[in-house]
């Protein structure tokens, strides 16, 4: 650490001031206002917005859809990211090119991904149906089907997301000492045994991080609903984030929107606490 003379004591505060001012105004203050907005109606304290929500079936429907899509999508993305990371971690020739290819969707916006997939998944003139027909499978309805739309969103988000989460897992894999595998091989362990007994336990911390970071990101998934489905068909893709957006910008109901945002924030905090708890537990276990 550099020492500062008494006259210069204030310097670090000057240096961090611009960043903190911006963080406060644009990151922390909005959270405070949304908390207030959700409980202060006509300048009086009121839980009306929350009570209304609790009696509102479309809110419960949105909450359920948000949970449902994440319950499927997060494990799916982490699993695929893990498997692809294993593939790319091999020392086979030309593997670097494949790794770069798998990273490409990371640089492409979800908006573009949605636009292109939406046209490809068009029921009447989409190329995906054309390929399905080629394989003898009849055309599907995809985004206009109540039962398929949500899973098509999972497909698009997974296409876009896997490369990103793979980066973390791959970085974790690189940290594992190769010698461990070699000694396991000498002991006659097969591929499956090595993955489940060595790789997964050693990657626990990274995998947990990916799980949590992925969940906090996707619990707020919004773009596919805005660009493709509009929450439909028949509310089947109407996640909480979209509902909050609609409440604020389509129906002008700010208290309702704020209350939903607060609920989303609480969910995110709970997930982060859950991660911290699991990590602590493990570190204490190590000490023993």
């Amino acid at each position: 650490m550099l020492h500062l003379s008494k006259k210069m004591r204030f310097l670090p505060y000057v240096l961090i001031l611009p960043a903190f001012l911006l963080i406060f105004i644009f990151k922390l203050y909005p959270i405070i206002t949304t908390l207030l907005e959700s409980v202060v109606i006509d300048s009086e304290f009121s839980l009306e917005a929350y009570i209304d929500l609790s009696e509102d079936s479309s809110f419960w429907n949105s909450l359920w859809i948000t949970i449902k899509i994440n319950l499927v999508m997060i494990p799916l993305q982490v699993l695929i990211a893990f498997l692809v990371a294993l593939l790319v971690n091999s020392t086979i020739k030309g593997v670097g090119i494949f790794r770069t290819i798998f990273y490409l969707p990371v640089t492409i916006s979800l908006t573009i991904a949605c636009l292109v997939w939406n046209i490809m998944l068009n029921p009447n003139s989409g190329v995906v149906n054309s390929i399905l027909n080629l394989a003898g499978i009849p055309s599907q309805d995809f985004f206009i089907s109540k039962s398929q739309a949500l899973w098509c969103i999972v497909l698009v988000a997974t296409w876009k997301g896997v490369g990103y989460w793979m980066m973390f897992i791959l970085a974790g894999l690189k940290n594992i000492d190769v010698a461990i595998y070699e000694s396991a091989k000498i002991d006659g362990a097969g591929w499956w045994k090595m993955v489940t007994r060595i790789t997964v336990p050693l990657l626990k911390k990274v995998l947990l991080f990916v799980f949590v970071a992925n969940t906090t990101a996707n619990i707020l998934l919004f773009v596919p609903m805005q660009v493709i489905t509009g929450g439909g068909p028949q509310e089947s893709t109407n996640v909480l984030m979209f509902e909050a957006y609609q409440s604020a910008f389509k129906y002008g109901d700010r208290p309702r929107s704020s209350a939903i945002v607060v609920i989303l924030l609480v969910l995110i905090v709970l997930i982060c606490l859950f991660q911290a708890l699991l990590l602590n537990e493990k570190e204490e276990g190590k000490k023993k």
Partner: protein, 283 residues
């Protein structure tokens, strides 16, 4: 019994098959998009069903869609806006965050720990979670539909600040001390010692800010209300309602906006991946 060698061949073949399958799935939308952007609308729909070679490969290549995009559909304005917003965000984002990180990394001061905890907290909250309430804050500051409104909220980034701190901490303190003894002021130390040593982290930071701003959708959707100020992502999502049948041009716009970050990413991949993963593994 299989020999060792043939077993290794079999294993490698299996890995290659898997790699190829994943690569095809990953690349297909891009190949499809690029191919569709290089052909006529009529040709595009004529060859989709049944599936044939010409579903993917244009019969007649044409750059017309890209030309139309800029001449007929006014794509220049959103591109200019996006470049402006992204460029200014990178410059100010790098300055504000690196200066604050400099203070955290090389000085001891009161309340340093709680202040730094605040930084960490601010990047654990995803932007989407505060976007809706943030709109009201920015609206009260009369910055809706302005460049300032698009740029200011994203300049201070907990993640970028954190990455700078990580990097600056690894710079040997002796180097800074020696400069101090030689009488260099704090400004000089930052400019002539820290900056030249920190090129990689500045590239990482610039690249991360670029990806964030170039690809951002929700915030410009809320804030860029008028046509003259909107960004590429917004212009593209509005495209299909504004120009109903211009499919090739929509593809051309999508590919244009996808290829620019990609072209930047390819040579700088190392910096980007390192930056992203170190935030997760260490944080």
């Amino acid at each position: 019994m299989m020999t060792r060698k043939s077993r290794r061949y079999l294993k490698n073949a299996l890995i290659y098959i898997c790699l190829f399958l994943v690569a095809i799935l990953t690349l297909f939308p891009l190949i499809w998009g690029i191919s569709a952007s290089l052909r006529d609308d009529s040709e595009l729909f004529g060859y989709i069903m049944p599936f044939s070679v010409h579903t993917l490969i244009p019969v007649e290549f044409t750059f017309q869609a890209y030309i139309d995009l800029f001449t007929k559909y006014g794509f220049f304005t959103p591109v200019k806006n996006t470049v402006l917003v992204t460029g200014i965000s990178i410059i100010f984002g790098c300055i504000v965050n690196s200066v604050a990180a400099f203070a955290f990394a090389v000085f001891d001061f009161k309340f340093k720990k709680p202040l730094f905890a605040l930084v960490l907290l601010s990047f654990m909250i995803p932007f989407e979670a505060i976007a809706l309430p943030l709109y009201k804050v920015v609206d009260n500051m009369h910055m809706v539909d302005t460049y300032r409104g698009m740029i200011l909220p994203s300049i201070a980034s907990g993640l970028v600040l954190f990455l700078f701190v990580q990097f600056f901490r690894d710079i040997p303190p002796d180097l800074l001390d020696a400069a101090r003894v030689d009488g260099a002021g704090i400004g000089r130390i930052y400019m002539s010692i820290l900056l030249p040593l920190s090129k990689p982290i500045f590239i990482t930071a610039a690249l991360m800010i670029f990806m964030d701003q170039w690809n951002s959708y929700l915030w410009p959707l809320l804030i860029a209300r008028s046509k003259g100020i909107r960004t590429v992502q917004i212009a593209l999502t509005a495209f299909s309602t504004e120009h109903k049948t211009a499919w090739s041009a929509l593809y051309a716009g999508s590919m244009f906006s996808a290829l620019i970050p990609l072209v930047l990413f390819l040579p700088l991949q190392k910096y980007f991946v390192q930056g992203i993963t170190s935030s997760g593994v260490k944080g």
